[in-house]
Symmetry: C2
């Protein structure tokens, strides 16, 4: 494959360069066929780059930083030389295939939306993430928080966007489900019911109907669509309970008189194997979909290892993604008579 | 305390009398100061009651059963002699302090709403459940599915209803939070923001602001308010992921060569201790609040043990609940100038 170019927003996030910079350098060290542009304070970044990586790591100086509590409007209007803005602009100018940032979600979405604009036929971008389900598979969820309300047309478009990213030779028609409080036709809000009608009428999409919260992790669908309010709360609640259970087990383990170190290690390994798939340290990154270019959002408080996972995900997304093919697919479905 | 009277809907639920009847009999056997009215098919129920329990178990014959897929309107109009309807009517006529049913939620809510009516000042009933948080405490969540949409006035009233049930001498002003996608004032839907304003303005309630999904399990609030669409999906997603994690650990355990039975048992005990608080087998039951009487909804597919937990919860709720005090508190807050 050709060289993948990733723009990395170094200054943003809870920990800024102290986390993102070593992660980016490690990523460049371990990954062939990749070129990074690190965007941030040059005086911090440049001295940290090892001599032998200078051919694959470029630096773009950005004197400003979008803070985690900057309102989107401030980030947009007052921080035109921020690392976030300049990193997104590299995607806009096609100098990068994707931008990876741990910056504040609202500002990053506003910046991406304003600078990249939505694909023709798409009214609103969405945030898409994934969760492991049984048998090593993953389920894609969107929207995870870009739109606290969404019309049925928005939700329908989110389904198209996810289909475009997920459909491939192995799975040409990924199963699309709509998150709801029951399976029956009478269940749900007016918007959800309208969306179901639109999806049912669209032959290009494989709509399998409603899915309930407890079915999300059992490989019933490949893509699940909801508005950003529900999606965000659902995702964070799950993260919260996973963390709580993990800590509870650790405490329980400490409070038990188990003298065998071997057994303790077996148990810790078992816990790690079970929980790590759901931990943000092991998997990190949500994709902004619907824009003329790719942006990947890392958790704001990502550790070095976690930010590395986001960079790895970014590379995978680029590989799977063909922008032109994607746009023409979206155009085909949104303009299709079948769907309207 | 005086005798607690519980009406049990025997025929409803995925498993009907095969589960509810033995659970109810066991409950009567183990619980002093309780009187049950078992509502359902007399020819099944009566022969099953042991002679020595006949003084504390009455039977009310109901020739009809509301099925799990009966639409609420069918249940209401065509099944006036159903076990569900007659059990709710025992609460209406004050012959029972609470009705416990594993029947279909929509039908049970429609029946309860129609037969019991809302408390003066309350426009809509809600479903309230609880979840364990750290330090052995619980968090109350509502609405869990009675209202797929809710106005700010509805959400505000839900807060009052939960406050009325939760406030006690030990905790006279329980912490009330509003479920949202962030903490900042700009976050959330218009309805959520309006509700926050109403709650802030109400001195009688201890409103602590917004809470995010990942904070639900960390003892930051005593009561969390949301609409029934979000609440239902959040609750079921958490149940889904807990089940998935538990099964993953069990499989991991089976696939490991651990020869010591002692270790296996220690581990199983540890897993049980960790997960059982969140399992529907260990805790079961959501309360319909806002009505002139108490109704408790058990999981439809509850096992015998799980239905027993619902009956136990029902008894606790009766003990903690003073209907008149509750109604006057609701009246006081809803009519208070401070809140309007």
């Amino acid at each position: 494959m050709s060289l993948a170019k990733i723009a990395v927003d170094i200054s943003s996030g809870d920990h800024g360069a102290s986390v993102t910079l070593p992660a980016a350098i490690k990523f460049a060290q371990n990954t062939p066929q990749v070129e990074l542009v690190l965007v941030g304070d040059e005086s911090i970044i440049s001295p940290a780059i090892p001599e032998k990586l200078k051919n694959k790591i470029k630096v773009l100086h950005a004197p400003e930083t979008v803070l985690m509590d900057d309102p989107p409007v401030i980030a947009l209007r007052a921080k035109k030389r921020s690392s976030m803005r300049l990193a997104v602009d590299l995607v806009r100018s096609k100098e990068a295939d994707i931008c990876v940032s741990a910056g504040n979600t609202g500002a990053l979405m506003a910046m991406s939306h304003t600078r990249l604009r939505t694909i023709k036929g798409i009214d609103r971008p969405a945030i898409m993430g994934s969760f492991p389900v049984s048998k090593g598979k993953e389920i894609c969820l969107l929207d995870l928080g870009a739109n606290v309300t969404a019309s049925s047309e928005n939700l329908f478009q989110f389904a198209i966007l996810a289909h475009g990213l997920q459909a491939n030779q192995l799975n040409p028609k990924p199963r699309i489900a709509l998150l709801n409080v029951g399976h029956e036709d009478i269940k749900g809000t007016a918007v959800v019911k309208e969306t179901a009608e639109k999806l049912h009428a669209c032959d290009a999409l494989n709509f399998i109907g409603y899915i309930e919260g407890n079915e999300l992790f059992s490989d019933k669908a490949d893509i699940v669509v909801c508005d950003g309010f529900v999606g965000n709360i659902m995702l964070k609640s799950c993260e919260g309970i996973v963390k709580t259970l993990y800590e509870k087990m650790l405490t329980g383990l400490k409070n038990r008189l188990i003298f065998s170190l071997t057994f303790k290690n077996i148990l810790k390994k078992l816990m790690k194997d079970t929980f790590q798939d759901y931990s943000t340290d092991h998997r990190n990154g949500a994709i902004f979909v619907g824009l003329n270019g790719l942006v990947l959002k890392s958790h704001g408080n990502a550790s070095e290892n976690s930010f590395l996972k986001a960079l790895e995900l970014g590379l995978t997304v680029i590989k799977d993604f063909d922008c032109q093919k994607y746009e023409s697919l979206v155009a085909k479905i949104t303009s299709s008579e079948v769907c309207l």
